[in-house]
Every structure is written in C-alpha cells, then in structure tokens.
C-alpha cells in the first residue's frame, strides 16, 4: 500500500547486545513517512530497545539507522529529527505545562513571544487550551500524556516515538487516548512509531504493525493481514485468540496439505507456501471461526473437524468462550458473540466436534 512513499526510518541489520544477551538481532525494517507504525510484542522482546535506538538513546552494536535517507546511527538524540513520548514521569515537575511544552523551542532559542504563541496553539490542538499555567501534578494521567505529546509535536520533527504512552492509564482512558492519538496523527500527518504490548491498542491505531520477540522482527504488515493471516506460528499465538495445531505434513494435493497430529488429520490450504511431506508445521484457526457442531453438520468436505471434550463456558459479556479439551490434553477455545449464540447446554466431559471452514485455517512453517 505504501511502497512508493518516502521512507522515514530505515533499519539495516540493526543489532544490540548487552554482554551475552542479544536484545536485537539483525533487524531490517522500513517505516514510511506519515505512517502510524506500531512495534508490538511481549515484554522484554526488544521493541523498546529498537525505539530507543531510533531515538538515539541506545547505540546499536551493529547495523545502521537512517532517518529520511541520512545515516543517524552515530548521532545523539538532540541531533535527530525525532521526538519521544515516554510512558510516565517524563514531564518536568518544576516547570509549568507551558514551560514543559515550550522547552524544546527555548533550546532552539526561539523568541519568547513566538514560543508562547506556538505553545498555546499546540495546547489547543491536544485539547488543553488554558492549562498552560498549571503544574504537571495538577493534571490527570491522560492530560499529562497530552502535554508530553504537545511537547513532542511543537518541535515539528518528522518522527514521533511513543514508548508505551498509554500503559499507565486506566482501560477507558487508554481507549479514548488511542482514538485521539490516531486522529491527531492523521491531522498532523507525520510519522508515529508507537511501542506497545497491548494488541488492541496496536490494532486501534496502526497502519502497519511489526511483531518483535526475542530481539527478532518476527513479521510486519498492515493490521488486518497480521490479524487475519499471520505468517508465523508465533504471531498466530500472540495476536488474537487463535487455536494452534502442531503436527507433520502427511499429504499434498491441489494446493492443500494434510497435517497429522495427536488431534487427528486436518486439511489446510498452503496459500502458496513451499513445503514438503514430512515437514513439521502448524495450523492456526481463529477461535471466532470455530464452531461446536453435531455429526450431521459436517458432511461438507471443506469443513474440518476435531473431536474434543467439553470443559467449561466463560461468559464475558459481548462474547462467550467455550473451552474444550483435545485427546492429548490441550485446550481449545471456541468463541461466540453472546447474543448471537443459540443457548445450548453441555455437560463437563461430553464428547463434542469442533469444526471450521478449511479456508479459515492458516499454515505456519515457522
């Protein structure tokens, strides 16, 4: 979608080691100008390290970092065209909101009257008009984060780096701030690079998402394709609520393969992946694509089924989760929209069939 756009950030083989620990392993990535890009992954996976390397707070052990085509690897943060928004504590407590926002302009030796005008404009943009004379502790958590955002945006840098900016906010505020961040980014049109471990947050704001774990860039793509068609088993396990079957490829025919495991045999489309009979592979199926069916409902050959035993039902308001157990003891989750589901009752230990359409299965070779 964005391939012909200007590249704002280019990472070439970026590595970072702390002694024996490799925080980043050969990361290659391009982030486009004006894009809302999210680095998503489990805690300790290296996403913050990568963001801090882009911002100049960490020097990579190897590799190059280019911003708008210029090599910035050896430059400190103040020499880069980036601004950073931190998770918390990063407002200057001895300065008013206006002084916090105007600090970068003061460093640039901008005349005071001009600073005052720019600060007021920026506070209005983030919805904090009239808050300039307040001290940081007089603001709520969401307001403090908006001040940080204003402080970053007022500098008119090309790239804003956001390190878990919503992590210290409560759930409702986080959701509101997600939308605000997205709208603000669309309005100002500059590159936002946002680190989070929260997939809902990532989905809400991102144009594209990169999954990072164990210092490796696992995969990247637009939010929908990452959710619907994860390339790797890790992504399928991390994003959404997927059920994963691990096994061995036993047969290949007409672009479909059969995967054999303790669950039985299931068929899945390769979607163009090169594979061999005998290779280890996994199939993932989104839990909302699965159904609990009776024997007569599975006549269609494109419907895949596995036998399981009903375990329990968990009602979560919007959705209801039915937990079932496979013969090897592994648990699967079948998810329904609560009100759309016909009420049915099952007893613990009752034999059930779990079914899904063949096209809902995704083959993972790594």
């Amino acid at each position: 979608m964005t391939d012909n756009r200007e590249i704002a950030v280019e990472l070439r083989n970026v590595c970072k080691s702390y002694g024996d620990v490799q925080a980043l392993r050969s990361v290659d990535l391009s982030i486009y100008s004006g894009e809302y890009f999210v680095l998503l992954g489990p805690s300790g996976g290296g996403k913050t390290t990568l963001l801090r390397a882009i911002g100049g707070f960490i020097r990579p052990s190897a590799g190059r970092i280019l911003l708008h085509g210029h090599d910035m690897t050896d430059l400190p943060p103040e020499k880069r065209s980036t601004s950073m928004v931190f998770q918390s504590y990063a407002l200057f407590p001895h300065m008013t909101v206006a002084k916090n926002v105007g600090y970068g302009l003061r460093i640039r030796k901008m005349p005071k009257p001009e600073i005052a005008i720019r600060v007021e404009q920026m506070l209005t943009q983030v919805g904090l008009a009239g808050y300039g004379e307040r001290m940081p502790w007089e603001l709520s958590g969401g307001q403090q984060q908006r001040v940080q955002l204003a402080r970053a945006l007022v500098l008119e840098t090309d790239i804003i780096l956001l390190d878990e900016p919503l992590a210290s906010l409560d759930a409702n505020l986080r959701k509101d701030m997600c939308y605000e961040l997205k709208h603000l980014q669309e309005k100002v049109g500059i590159t936002f690079i946002h680190v989070t471990h929260n997939q809902e947050e990532a989905m809400a704001v991102a144009d594209r998402i990169a999954i990072i774990a164990d210092g490796i860039l696992v995969e990247h793509g637009d939010s929908q394709s990452i959710y619907r068609n994860p390339r790797t088993r890790f992504t399928a396990d991390f994003i959404g609520e997927n059920n994963i079957f691990d096994g061995e490829i036993s047969e290949m025919e007409n672009g479909n393969v059969s995967l054999v495991g303790s669950f039985g045999t299931i068929s899945v489309n390769t979607r163009g992946s090169d594979t061999l009979v005998g290779a280890s592979a996994s199939v993932s199926v989104r839990s909302e694509c699965m159904m609990i069916v009776s024997e007569g409902q599975t006549d269609d050959s494109s419907i895949q089924t596995v036998s399981a035993k009903y375990h329990e039902t968990i009602y979560l308001g919007l959705t209801t989760h039915h937990m079932v157990t496979l013969a090897d003891g592994r648990e699967l989750m079948v998810r329904f929209i609560s009100d759309a589901e016909d009420a049915f009752s099952m007893e613990k230990g009752q034999e059930v069939l779990i079914a899904w359409r063949q096209e809902d299965g995704r083959l993972h070779l790594s």
Binding site: G55, G56, F57, P76, P77, E78, T82, S83, M84, F86, Q87, S88, Y89, A90, L91, F92, P93, H94, Y103, G104, I107, R108, M135, P136, W137, G141, Q144, Q148, R151, A152, L155, L161, A167, S168, L169, D170
Partner: protein, 294 residues
C-alpha cells in the same frame, strides 16, 4: 496514627520517645545558648540576660580574623568539593561496580581524624621534600614550598574530609530523580549539559544546598585536620579550643559556641524548609503517577 489498631498508650509512648531523642540532641546546644546570654556566666546563682558576651566576641580582632579565615576556607572548600561531589555522584550512577566504588568513596569517613590528619601531614612533608629535590635537580627554585603547610594543604585536607559527605548527600537526592526526564530533555534537543542544568539540577538543588551547608558546618567544626595542616593562620575552632585549653571556658567561649550552633541550625533549618516546599510538587506528581500505574 499509622496503625488503626495500635494501642493509644503505645502510640503516645512512641511519640514521647521521639520527643525524648530530639531533646537529648538539642538540650546541650540550647543550654550553651542559655549560658551565653547570662551576664554572670556558667554556674552562677543569678541569671541576667545580656548580649555583652557576643559583643566581646565581635570586638575580638583575633577571633574576627580567625572567623574570616574559616569562612574563606569554607568557601573555597565548598567551591571545590560540591561540583566534584555532584560530578562523582552523577558518574557513579552510570557505573556498574557500585558497591566497590561507594565503599572506597566512604572509606575516609571511617578513618579517625587524628590518624587521617597525621597521614596527610607526613604526606605533604614528603611531597614538599620531593618537589624541592626536583627543583634542586633542575637547578631552580620553581617547585619550592608548593606543599608547605598553609592554606592549600588545609583546603586539601578539608576537601578529602568533606567530599564523601557531599557525594552521599547528592547521591541520595539524585536517587529521587527520574532519568527519563533527562531523556525527554535530550529528545527536545537539549545537549547533555543543558538537560542537566535545566532539568536535573533544579530538582537536585536542595541536596546540593544541603551538601554545601554541610561542608560549611564541617569546616567550622573541624579542629584536628585543620590544626595540623593549616600552617600559620588560625581558624575559629582552633582559636576556640586554644582559648579553652589556655584559659578554660569563658563566657566568650559560650557565645562563640552559641554563634556556631545558631548559624548551623539556621542553615540546616532553612535547607530543610526549602527542600520540603520544593519536593512537595515532585512528590505529588510521583504519587499521582504511582496511583495511575497501579
């Protein structure tokens, strides 16, 4: 009351204990002040308030000169020790071998003052001889008297003595500073120095002021190191002690003690009050952020 279920009597006893400790610490100081305002001096049956002994102190030219020298000594020591201590604390925070460094830094505090002073005295004597030999070998007098006992050796002794105190006081204050603020400042375009000066320094200023006050008080109180390393000039404390040794405690001595303790209490009190006011804002912000992240 912190514990809602605490026995009220035990609660009052705790407060009484704390009050008792404060009284034990302050009674000698206030008793000294009380005596210094008595026209009839220490141990007299009568008490009549007077400021005469203080006027006597301020009229004593030897004492005034000693006071001036001590103040000068304290000023130079502050100028040298405080920036050195701040820099050391800042670099210490970035090091990995913290236990080793902090142990070495604090070691001078555990050396008895007379042993410490004697060691420095011998060191300076030898250093002076070494420099004289160097001059002699060069055929000139350039390095003569560099480390003869005097103002410089006294300052060096005081710097070595007070630096660990400055280091520890500043380090404790820096512990409350969140380094993300420095990164935020760098991200706004500030250099490392600008980030320190604009953002970190105002927040650790109470600690730096406390450390500077501490150095002044330590310099005024120090006797052993100063008397061994000072050479020809006198300091307030050396005069006070020599007067006590030669003529015993006079009313004038109580007045001198009163001046020193009053100034010390005023300085420390001022620093504490200013710190309380300044840290109030930071504390509120930290508490707010802590509550949000819970």
């Amino acid at each position: 009351m912190l514990d809602d279920y605490a026995n009220p009597l035990a609660y009052r006893l705790k407060w009484a204990y704390l009050l008792g400790i404060v009284l034990i610490l302050l009674v000698p100081v206030f008793f000294n002040l009380y005596v210094s305002f008595n026209e009839f001096g220490f141990g007299a049956a009568n008490y009549e308030f007077t400021l005469d002994w203080y006027f006597v102190v301020f009229d004593d030219s030897q004492l005034k000169a000693a006071f001036g020298w001590t103040l000068f000594l304290a000023s130079i020591t502050v100028v040298l020790t405080v920036p050195a201590g701040v820099l050391t604390a800042k670099l210490f925070k970035q090091t990995e071998r913290k236990v080793l460094i902090v142990s070495l830094m604090l070691l001078p505090l555990f050396v008895p003052s007379d042993i410490f002073a004697s060691a420095l005295l011998v060191f300076f004597k030898n250093l002076n001889q070494g420099f004289e030999l160097l001059s002699d070998s060069l055929g000139n007098e350039w390095f003569y008297g560099w480390f003869e006992l005097g103002y410089m050796t006294a300052v060096i002794g005081l710097v070595i003595y007070t630096l660990p105190y400055v280091f520890i006081v500043v380090l404790i204050t820096m512990g409350r500073y969140h380094p993300e603020q420095t990164e935020a400042a760098r991200s706004c375009g500030a250099s490392g120095w600008q980030a320190f000066w604009h953002i970190e320094f105002p927040q650790i200023r109470p600690g730096i002021l406390s450390a500077a006050s501490f150095v002044v008080i330590l310099t005024f109180n120090e006797y052993t190191r100063t008397s061994m390393l000072k050479g020809g000039f006198d300091t307030f404390t050396t005069v006070l002690v020599s007067q006590m040794l030669n003529t015993g405690m006079s009313e004038q001595s109580y007045a001198m003690g009163g001046i020193v303790s009053s100034v010390a209490m005023l300085v420390i009190g001022g620093v504490i009050i200013s710190t309380l006011f300044r840290s109030n804002g930071s504390k509120k912000l930290r508490e707010q952020n802590t509550h949000q992240s819970v």
